[in-house]
Structure formats: structure tokens, C-alpha cells
């Protein structure tokens, strides 16, 4: 049928066709690690020790089937009574009674009590088959849960009969094309007490509940999955008010597309220190500083800026409640509660010791996937405790997870050197794209907050220290005083600046005074010059007068002599 050029696409279809048909469990993450869910029309074994969540896993499978995939289910309980089962999962918001009433779910409690059953001669478990068949037919079930069928071994003593019957039961389930979950209690040296894995060999899921340092971590592993690829790791999973979720949080490569764009920090001074006017979107930013240096205020500011842009933000806080942070942010003029109300901001507050590292990571993973924020704040990162190796890998995966989703992440750390542990060299700072360091400078009996941008990958940034001030108008960054006397901040800076201003004023006044003096001297000299000139003129006048008098006298003398000569001449 396929012509020559179509052969590549044909190979693809040829590859996908024989893939095992699967049934989605609707359990977030589990369907991902099994590439689709449980094998359709086959029984799967879910085993684990007491309290691992087997029953919950199975119930979720049925409830999701009934509500989301339109596949009714039968829950055959060998342990809990139907009422108990209904009550137990009501806290997760599962309305089993409602589903039963709608004909989407059937619950059959099979009570097997050793003391009530006497065995005489040969028997088989046809009664069980009939009951199961009856329940399946009554609602047209596609899914079946047998929880925990091993209880039969406690009720009946003839193991050979039981084993033969179980084999027949699983065969029957396959024949009917029912997708089934068989739960089994963990046994010594094998997955289940009665070796159920021998009968149910298509898919085996192991649940585990481990306690390390008084902190419990639930883990899930797909032990085998016949005819299908599956994730082989142990994955942490969560059981909380939102049900069960498995979290495939091991990412291997650094091959993710990067988000473009620049996000403002909401602090004008800090934006100005960074060449593009903010941080690159999707980067990890570390804000380190001791207690009381203003880390949370900076993050609050960034949150406010992001929410104001209409982006969604999520804050994982380990030391304060969301309300407390919102209240404190009000002191610098930020109203975070309006963003919470608008649904743009969500605080997820938890004590660091509430879960193990894996669980914290798992929880974040789930919450982030659900809320889809573009900014995530983890405050503080240093609150997470655990063995160094685990801590390092957790951080790495956390950063990785955020980066791969293009989420801008802001971490705060109490350790000013940006490390997490004193003893080991867990360099969180090296994983970060940007690092803002807050330092309290103590001098002259006061502390002042200073801020440096230690690094900012992929952008030019200021290498200068800034003094960082919080007021009801927000956070302001002020250039620190840098002069011959060194770098000064706080009051010292103010004093120094005042001194400089005073000195400048003095200098200016002195200059003015000198200028006035010079003017005065010049004026007096000019006055003197005028005086002298006046004198000179007077002298000149005098001189002229004298000269004219002399001339007149000479003239008079000459005329006299002439008169005399005339007189003498006449007599002769």
C-alpha cells in the first residue's frame, strides 16, 4: 500500500502499532513513567508494606476511571468494609457513595474470617468469581481492584486449591478484558507474602515508605512491565489532600530552550545595576545574606513586579507564613494580598522538616505544574536540610526543573557565601545565573544594608556596592560614598556627605570673599589713580598759569625796553 517515499512514516506506525494498549490511571506522573498507565485488560500488582498507600492507589485508579475515563470499576475489598473505605477516601474528595449511586462503582466487601469458615472436603472459589462477575456485570465495569486478595490465604488453609484458584481468577480477569489492580502486602524476601508476583506478572509496582532521619519519603518503583518500556527509578510520590501524585523529577540533560526577555525586579536601583534593566527571564537568581538583610523584601518586590505585569507567581516559604510575608511587605508599600486574591500569587508554606528533600521537591514539582507560574520564589533555600549529597542533587534537580520550564526562580540563602553547608563545598552559587549578595556593614554603632551584584550571567552589570534602603515607599538603592576616605555607608556616608557639602560651601564663600576683596582693592586703586590724575591736572594748570605769567612778564619787560629806547632815541 505504502509507496516508496512514505516508508519513513510507515516505520513509525509499524513501531507504534504493536505497543501494548494501556489504561490511564489518572495518577499524575504515574502515567508518565509508564508511558500511558497500566496494561489494558490485564491484572497488575501493586505491592508494599503496610501504610504505603496501596489501597489509595487502587481507589484512585477506580475513581479516576469512573469520573474521567468513563470506565466503571469494581472494588473488591478483602480487608476494609465498604463504609470504612468510603470514609477513608472522603478526605481526598472522593465521593464513593455518589459513584456507587450513579452506577459507576461497585464495592463488595468479602469477609474472610478463619474462625467462621470450616473446611470439609473439596471446594473451589467459584463463589468469589460469581460475586466478582455479578458486580462487574451489574455496572459494566472495565476496571477491577482486589484489595488485598492475599487475605484469602488467612481464611483458607488449602494452599494448593487457593493457588490454583488465583491462577484461574487472573486468567478469568484477562479473558474478560478487565484491567485489574491486585494489591499485596510486602513479604520477606519477595514482593508479596504469598508470592503473588508469580501469578500477576505483567506489571508490578512497588510502593515504599522509608524513614530517614525521622522524615518519611514515599517512593514508587515500577519493578516490571512486560512488553513496555518504563521509568526504572524510584520516584517519590505524594499523598495529600489532593490525592496521590507521582513525580518523575530526574532530568538528565541541560538541553532546554531558554525563555527570552528581561524581567524587572521592581527595584529601580537594582534594575539600573543590570545592563538590560533586569534579569533574563527563566534564570535562577540567588539572593544571599544574613538574617535581616532584606532578602524577603527583595523577593517580595520581585513578586509584586511580576504580578503587576500580570504574571503568575508562586512562593515556597519555609520560615514564615504567606500572610506574614504579605503583612511585612506592606511595610515597604507592597500590597501582596491583592495579588493573592486575584489568583496571581500563591504562597506554599511548609516547615522544612515536614517532608524529606525528595518530598519537598516532589511537592514543588506538582504545585508548579498545576499553577504554572512564571516566577517561583524559594525562601530560604538554606532551610532545606539533609545529607550533603542528597541536598546537592535535590538543588540541582530543583533548578533544572524550573529552568526546563522557563520559570524565573529566585532563591534566598542565609549563608552569605552562597553555600549551603559549612563542611562541604556544595556550591549552589555556581548553579545560579545571577547572584545578589546582601551585606550588613557595621560601623559607627549602626548597621547599614548594602547590596552587590556578584554575578549576572549574560549581561553587563555594575560592580559597585549600593546602599540599600527600605522605606514605606519601597526599596531604594543609593550609591555608596566612594572617596579618598574609602567606601562609606549609612550615617557615616551622610555625615561625610554633609561635611563635604559644608566644606564646599566654605570654599565657595571664601572665593566670593576673595573676589569681593580684589574688587575692593581694584576699586581703591582706581580711586587713587583718579586722585593722582586730578592732582596732575591741577599741577598742569598751575604750570600753565605760571608759564603764561612768565610770558606776560617777558612781554611787559620787552615793551618797557622798547619804550625806553624810543625815548632815548628821540633826544639824540
Amino acid at each position: 500500500m505504502a509507496s516508496e517515499p512514505e516508508s519513513p512514516s510507515e516505520t513509525v506506525t509499524r513501531k507504534t502499532v504493536p505497543a501494548l494498549p494501556k489504561v490511564a490511571t489518572g495518577i499524575a506522573g504515574f502515567d508518565a513513567i509508564t508511558f500511558g498507565g497500566l496494561p489494558r485488560g490485564r491484572p497488575s500488582l501493586v505491592c508494599g508494606a503496610a501504610g504505603c498507600g496501596k489501597t489509595l492507589f487502587a481507589t484512585t485508579f477506580l475513581v479516576n476511571g469512573a469520573t474521567r475515563f468513563d470506565e466503571p470499576g469494581v472494588f473488591m475489598s478483602f480487608e476494609e468494609r465498604a463504609e470504612d473505605l468510603v470514609a477513608n477516601v472522603a478526605s481526598l474528595g472522593y465521593d464513593l457513595d455518589g459513584l456507587v449511586a450513579q452506577g459507576k462503582l461497585a464495592i463488595d466487601h468479602v469477609r474472610v474470617e478463619r474462625s467462621e469458615i470450616e473446611e470439609t472436603g473439596e471446594y473451589d472459589l467459584e463463589g468469589l468469581f460469581i460475586r466478582l462477575g455479578f458486580a462487574v456485570d451489574s455496572i459494566g465495569a472495565k476496571r477491577v481492584v482486589l484489595d488485598t486478595i492475599e487475605t484469602l490465604f488467612a481464611g483458607f488453609s488449602d494452599e494448593t486449591v487457593l493457588r490454583a484458584e488465583l491462577r484461574r481468577l487472573f486468567g478469568w480477569i484477562k479473558d474478560r478484558g478487565l484491567t485489574a489492580i491486585i494489591t499485596g502486602e510486602r513479604g520477606d524476601g519477595q514482593l508479596t507474602r504469598q508470592g503473588m508476583e508469580e501469578y500477576v506478572s505483567d506489571c508490578v509496582v512497588l510502593l515504599d515508605n522509608r524513614v530517614e532521619d525521622q522524615i518519611t519519603t514515599r517512593r514508587l518503583r515500577v519493578v516490571k512491565y512486560r512488553g513496555s518500556a518504563h521509568g526504572t527509578n524510584e520516584y517519590p510520590f505524594l499523598i495529600d489532600a489532593e490525592g496521590i501524585s507521582v513525580l518523575p523529577v530526574t532530568s538528565a540533560d541541560l538541553d532546554y530552550s531558554i525563555a527570552e526577555g528581561v524581567v524587572s525586579t521592581g527595584i529601580a536601583g537594582l534594575d539600573a545595576m543590570l545592563e538590560p534593566g533586569g534579569f533574563h527571564r527563566g534564570t535562577s537568581i540567588l539572593i544571599s545574606g544574613e538574617a535581616g538583610t532584606g532578602k524577603t523584601m527583595i523577593t517580595s518586590s520581585m513578586i509584586d513586579a511580576a504580578c503587576a505585569r500580570g504574571e503568575r507567581c508562586m512562593a515556597f516559604v519555609f520560615e514564615e507564613s504567606g500572610h506574614q510575608i504579605a503583612r511585612n511587605a506592606r511595610s515597604i508599600g507592597l500590597d501582596l494580598s491583592r495579588h493573592v486574591e486575584a489568583g496571581l500569587l500563591r504562597f506554599e508554606a511548609a516547615r522544612p522538616s515536614l517532608y524529606g528533600l525528595e518530598m519537598h521537591l516532589a511537592r514543588m514539582h506538582r504545585d508548579i505544574d498545576r499553577f504554572a507560574p512564571s516566577l517561583v520564589v524559594i525562601d530560604p533555600l538554606s532551610a532545606l536540610r539533609g545529607p550533603p549529597v542528597e541536598l546537592q542533587s535535590t538543588m540541582l534537580r530543583m533548578i533544572d526543573m524550573l529552568k526546563s520550564r522557563g520559570i524565573t526562580a529566585v532563591f534566598t540563602s542565609l549563608r552569605e557565601d552562597g553555600e549551603i553547608d559549612h563542611d562541604s563545598a556544595i556550591g549552589v552559587s555556581s548553579l545560579m545565573d545571577a547572584w545578589i549578595k546582601l551585606l550588613n556593614v557595621e560601623a559607627n554603632g549602626e548597621r547599614s544594608r548594602t547590596l552587590y551584584v556578584i554575578k549576572a550571567r549574560g549581561m553587563r552589570h555594575s560592580n559597585q556596592v549600593r546602599e540599600f534602603m527600605m522605606s514605606k515607599d519601597g526599596i531604594a538603592l543609593i550609591d555608596a560614598y566612594i572617596g579618598p576616605a574609602g567606601v562609606l555607608t549609612g550615617t557615616a556616608r551622610v555625615v561625610r556627605e554633609a561635611e563635604e557639602a559644608a566644606a564646599a560651601l566654605r570654599r565657595e564663600q571664601e572665593n566670593l570673599r576673595r573676589q569681593r576683596e580684589a574688587l575692593r582693592r581694584r576699586q581703591s586703586l582706581e580711586r587713587q589713580i583718579d586722585e593722582l590724575r586730578a592732582n596732575l591736572e591741577a599741577v598742569e594748570e598751575e604750570e600753565a598759569l605760571l608759564l603764561s605769567e612768565d610770558e606776560m612778564r617777558e612781554a611787559a619787560l620787552a615793551s618797557g625796553r622798547r619804550d625806553l629806547a624810543v625815548r632815548r632815541g628821540s633826544t639824540r
Binding site: 463488595d108 468479602v110 469477609r111 474472610v112 470439609t120 472459589l125 460469581i130
Partner: protein
């Protein structure tokens, strides 16, 4: 005194039995026969027996908590007891049902009567 048998035969003393079988297999018919024989023979009509085919009345199996087939359920006197198996051994059935006393009484009376 056959009257004793009558007092034992009033509703308090009588046993109500229900036998669950799966279809008309050889095992089923054999079980039904042996239980019938027991009820009419050694229990001397002191019991009411009801035979239920679980294929026909699947709903009942659930209410009576039947898992194995065949199962003989003693509905009264309470508490209910269940016997799984083809019920080939009469003595064990009686022990299992807790009805030996009933039998011994009637047998003892028979001995006295002799």
C-alpha cells in the same frame, strides 16, 4: 420422650441451613445429596435446608459472604457459620455447624426409648 424432640424442633432449636452450590456439576450434586441425607437422617428433620445455585442468584452470595463453592451456611442459630467443601464427612459437618449437641440429644432419647 418424643416431646423433647418437638421442643427441640421449635423455631429456637431448629437450624436454618443454606447450601450454596455452583451449577449442576458433579461436585454440586454430590454435595446436595449428602447434605440432604444428613438433614433428613441424623438431624431428623430438625433443620430447614435451602439450596441456592450461585449462578442463578449471584446477589445472595454477596449478602451471605460466600467465597468458596460449595458452601453450607448456618443462618440460625446465630452467629452464622460457614462450611466450605463438598461436605463428604458427616461428623465434620456437624462439628462445623455446631449441631452435634442437637444430634446427640435426639440420639440419646432414641437410646432411652429402646
Amino acid at each position: 420422650m418424643t416431646e423433647a424432640g418437638v421442643t427441640g424442633g421449635d423455631t429456637a432449636g431448629r437450624a436454618r441451613l443454606r447450601l450454596y452450590v455452583a451449577g449442576t456439576s458433579l461436585r454440586s450434586t454430590r454435595t446436595i445429596e449428602s447434605v440432604r441425607r444428613l438433614c433428613e437422617g441424623r438431624l431428623g428433620g430438625l433443620c430447614d435446608l435451602e439450596v441456592v445455585d450461585i449462578y442463578q442468584q449471584s446477589g445472595l452470595a454477596g449478602t451471605d459472604g460466600v467465597v468458596a463453592a460449595p458452601t453450607l451456611v448456618r443462618l440460625s442459630p446465630l452467629p452464622a457459620r460457614r462450611l466450605a467443601g463438598d461436605l463428604s464427612d458427616e461428623r465434620r459437618i456437624l462439628e462445623g455447624l455446631g449441631l452435634q449437641a442437637l444430634v446427640r440429644e435426639s440420639l440419646g432419647e432414641d437410646d432411652d426409648g429402646r
